[in-house]
């Protein structure tokens, strides 16, 4: 049988689009590494035998900056993003965490958890709002039972009411 001439496999579309997506990741890393290199430099590098406070950040930043450049180059025609970014989910979860942070000490554990659950489940269109509210209550009570009663962690259950 004749061996087939070496043919390039058809170009796969990366699932997330943005074929050069990986390169952006490299750029992020590069930027981060510069931050630490500058910071480390400012903190003082010391001498090799008596390393200064900034030596480690600077060195790791330096190595990372080089590596990230390589990554940019390698990823220019790479596999791209692993999936289409789900911005709605990102915002919803971020908002849920923010809600928890803002509410748990102001209104207490139970209302805070309830609100968090609702915000987190916002992107879920298959669950109605009353359904979300009920879920919130269930989770909030469960958390109260487990964390406050059982484990005796210092959470305020309700602020301003109890």
């Amino acid at each position: 049988m004749q061996p087939e001439p070496h043919a390039k496999p058809p170009k796969k579309q990366p699932p997330g689009g943005m074929e050069w997506g990986g390169a952006i990741g490299g750029l992020f890393l590069f930027a981060l590494s510069i931050v630490f290199m500058v910071g480390g430099w400012q903190l003082g590098l010391g001498v090799p035998t008596r390393l200064g406070v900034g030596a480690f950040p600077f060195l790791t930043g330096a190595v990372l900056s080089v590596l990230s450049i390589f990554i940019c180059i390698a990823e220019r025609k790479g596999d791209g993003l692993s999936e289409v970014p789900d911005w709605v989910a990102l915002v919803a979860i971020a908002a849920a965490l923010a809600v928890f942070a803002a509410s748990v000490e102001r209104v207490g554990l139970v209302p805070g958890v309830w609100a968090t659950v609702i915000v987190a489940s916002l992107p879920d269109r298959s669950l109605s709002f009353p359904g979300k509210a009920v879920l919130g209550v269930a989770v909030a009570l469960g958390c109260w039972g487990v964390f406050v009663k059982l484990l005796n962690l210092p959470f305020k259950s309700f602020v301003g009411i109890f």
């Binding site: 001439p5 035998t49 480690f56 790791t60 849920a96 928890f100 659950v117 005796n152």
Partner: protein, 504 residues
């Protein structure tokens, strides 16, 4: 043979009803708390500490130990099911474990970890029983230079943990190292990169990094499936139990993991995380299934579990025989002992043989209890997976928040988790793996501390690394491993090029 006699005596101690009961309570509580993300063994032990005051030292110690390794085991459950590591060491288990769960093989994964933990625990117990004095001696002779060499080896292993390509793996480890410098520099007390934020003075807590990178990132990535109303992860009930061949394939990894874990765990400060990472990296090189690592292979799930369970147990060696806590929970153990007027130290073996051997024997009993407790639970956990994800994921988010908040009762930590979580999702998009970053983050500060301390102690002489036998050997080993990796990747590339050109 004296050891066997001692062990027998310890077994008698442990089989006393009171000790048995507290062993069970410890193991039960530990597993339950370990499953909750973020609340690891530290919080669990602090929680039961008040009860221990009413007890005698032996049942108290047995209970605390039970909580400790129970939590470690529980941590693997949430790792596998949810990709949210219950403890940092469990993040390695999550690599293969969660992949298996995604393929419907959660049951198999959970059985494997149960078996592996049991196996690792037994190995750890044997090591303690027979090798305590020698390991204590070994730990005693470790100087900062030697620790640096061990941690460096651990870091190289961490780079090898990445399944997405060496370049990205190393970059992630370095990023972790870099981020680990945030906070107070231990050697000089100067704050680094805290940008004036007082909560960052003590650095970013590892639980926050783990929860953010793994937990939050995973939830964000998984919502899409939930939103469209697709059911939860499928469970392949035909594949519930491991097959005979799969059971057999667990044997060697458990031995390897247990061995690595027992030794690494006995070195104070290195801990279960390094043990799990090292074991996984070694397994990747040695296992017949090495090419499949990253897609969900049994050895990959078993080895870190065996390693971290045995490390959890041998961590008691430096704690009890040297009074040096291997990790924060061990510091609590030492504190608890001191309240009883028992000073950990070389004398403990001779002055408190009943307690020591009762503890060692309790590892056997406790691990058996864990097995009996958890095997039926596997069915329940797996059924949990069938709850539609749309109900699960807000719960997971709440659990993550609770776990993080319980660290310091400070909402700042939640905000931090938010930022890291977003970064974790973005990383996932760019196909950067979180596990190497976590490892770099854990190991980096330790490595820097030991490096600068070595320089201080040697009055600035770098030759000390080669002068001390342990560090010299380890460093040479590290160099050899790097060289070997470079050579084999060059050869692989040459082979690939040859293969491509030969088909032309």
């Amino acid at each position: 043979m004296e050891t066997l006699a001692n062990f027998g005596g310890g077994l008698l101690v442990v089989l006393e009803p009171q000790n048995l009961m507290y062993c069970f309570i410890g193991v039960f509580l530990g597993t339950f708390i370990g499953v909750l993300p973020g609340i690891g063994s530290m919080a669990a032990i602090a929680m039961i500490l008040p009860i221990t005051f009413y007890l005698d030292p032996t049942p108290a110690l047995v209970m605390i130990a039970g909580v400790f390794y129970g939590a470690e085991y529980g941590g693997s459950t949430s790792s596998i099911l949810l990709n949210v590591p219950g403890t940092p060491a469990a993040s390695i288990t999550a690599i293969e474990g969660h992949q298996m769960a995604k393929k419907g093989r959660a049951g198999v994964a959970l059985f494997s970890t149960a078996t592996a933990s049991f196996g690792g625990g037994i190995i750890g117990m044997i090591v303690i029983a027979f090798l305590s004095p020698s390991l204590a001696q070994l730990a005693l002779s470790f100087a900062p230079a030697d620790y640096f060499a061990v941690i460096l080896l651990g870091l190289i292993a961490a780079s090898a943990v990445s399944n997405g390509g060496a370049l990205k793996g190393i970059a992630m480890v370095i990023t972790g190292l870099m981020l680990g410098t945030i906070g107070i520099d231990l050697t000089t007390g100067v704050t680094r990169f805290t940008m004036g934020v007082p909560e960052l003075r003590d650095g970013v807590h590892i639980v926050i990094v783990a929860m953010g990178l793994f937990g939050v990132g995973e939830v964000i990535a998984s919502i899409r499936g939930a939103r469209s109303g697709t059911a939860a992860q499928t469970v392949d009930y035909n594949n519930f139990y491991p097959t005979r061949d799969e059971w057999k394939s667990l044997f060697a990894p458990i031995l390897r993991g247990g061995a690595i874990g027992s030794i690494v765990g006995a070195l104070p400060g290195t801990g279960q995380t390094i043990a799990a990472a090292l074991a996984y990296a070694v397994e990747k090189k040695v296992s017949p299934l090495r090419d499949k690592f990253g897609t969900g292979v049994l050895p990959g799930v078993a080895v870190p579990e065996a390693a971290n369970n045995s490390a959890t147990q041998t961590a008691f060696i430096p704690t009890l025989t040297l009074g040096v806590p291997g990790s924060p929970p061990m510091a609590i153990v030492i504190g608890a002992l001191m309240i009883y007027g028992i000073t950990p130290g070389p004398r403990l073996l001779t002055e408190q043989p009943d307690m020591f051997w009762g503890l060692v024997a309790s590892f056997l009993v406790g691990n058996i209890m864990l097995l009996i407790l958890n095997v039926p639970l596997i069915g329940i956990w797996v059924r949990l997976l069938r709850i539609p994800y749309k109900y699960m994921y807000p719960t997971i988010i709440v659990l993550i928040c609770m776990g993080v908040y319980s660290l310091n009762n400070n909402v700042f930590d939640i905000w931090l988790t938010l930022i890291i979580g977003v970064a974790g999702y973005v990383m996932r998009l760019f196909r950067f793996e979180p596990a190497p970053l976590l490892l770099g983050f854990v190991l980096g500060p330790m490595m820097e501390e030991q490096l600068r301390r070595t320089m201080l102690l040697s009055r600035g002489d770098p030759m000390i690394f080669l002068q001390r036998p342990i560090s010299a050997t380890l460093l040479m080993l590290t160099v050899l491993i790097i060289l070997f990796a470079l050579v084999s990747s060059l050869r692989a590339r040459r082979r690939n090029r040859a293969a491509i050109s030969s088909t032309n």
